[in-house]
Symmetry: C2
Subunit: 184 residues, 2 copies
């Protein structure tokens, strides 16, 4: 059956996205640096920056979601293809909606963390906000790497959301609005 070709692409991309998401969460979550500043030892972790804290949780949840979708690819894709009528539509619509939700949330969180990191890197003189990256260099480099992983994962998830959109919308007729092909 030809249809499984796109399922194969999906089953190849999902683990990749999962690995990148886990890498992001681990890099951010385990990153820590201690330095002596003026009077005391200051330790920075992801908990100090709210945006990074959110990023760790969102990427973990997104990785778990991709694991669930991957198991669907392996175990029930054939079953899903053989569904008929409204149950098939429901399966494809929920896949599509969840994928869209996951990709937008991951992308927005990564962008927010990026913005926050740039502020930490450059500081803001107008607001009398100091920059901190000249003191915690290693911490900042690792965060940079993890944001790169996060963007790569977002990019893969965008591709996966295209696949689920493709799977859903090709069921519809090209001539009539919101009519299924089988009913033409």
């Amino acid at each position: 059956m030809e249809l499984s070709k796109i399922t194969k692409v999906e089953a190849f991309l999902r683990p990749l996205a999962m690995i990148l998401l886990v890498a992001t969460a681990c890099l951010v979550g385990l990153d820590t640096q201690t330095k002596y500043i003026i009077y005391y030892n200051k330790t920075v972790t992801y908990r100090d920056l709210k945006a990074l804290w959110v990023l760790v949780y969102v990427t973990s949840i997104a990785a778990a979601y991709n694991l669930l979708q991957l198991s669907r690819c392996y175990f029930s894709a054939r079953y899903q293809e053989n569904l008929k009528g409204s149950r098939k539509l429901l399966a494809y619509w929920s896949c599509f909606a969840l994928d869209q939700l996951a990709v937008y949330i991951t992308f927005a969180t990564t962008s927010a963390a990026m913005e926050h990191s740039i502020l930490v890197l450059t500081g803001m003189d107008d607001f009398q906000w100091m920059k901190w990256c000249n003191r915690f260099t290693r911490f900042c480099f690792i965060i940079g790497g993890s944001l790169l992983c996060g963007y790569l994962a977002s990019f893969l998830m965008v591709t996966l959301s295209f696949i689920s959109a493709f799977n859903l919308f090709r069921l519809y007729s090209p001539k009539q609005f919101l009519t299924l092909k089988s009913r033409q």
Copy 2:
């Protein structure tokens, strides 16, 4: 012809998105407040916050893009529907790709501006970053309203990107991978 129904939905949503995007750009761009702080009069505008500066430009460009797409809806949708083969595919694919690009960039920029605004609102004691919104209250309220407009516009653009995905992918066969329906 039935197909124009979805074009009508698109022609209704695009001006709405455009108005919201222009509202966001204007609210952020024209927002300013001056206050006497310790020694001198300090004026805040969108130029003080890099994320807002980017937001003004991105929303303006996205509004212009939606205007272009809207004119396509009115003048060439019927022409586009009557295209055949690879030219029709190219038209739908470019529409789809541009819509996706626009929605992701707008959404990411709005999220980054949101994150930056939250920092200005709450400050960050760990980093010795002061909060500023208790001093520039009116400025902050207007930015909050404009971010709401920005998110509403992003939401409409997500819906529009669904429409362009629907228009593109329903041209494809539900049985064979990446085969057009007409060739079945």
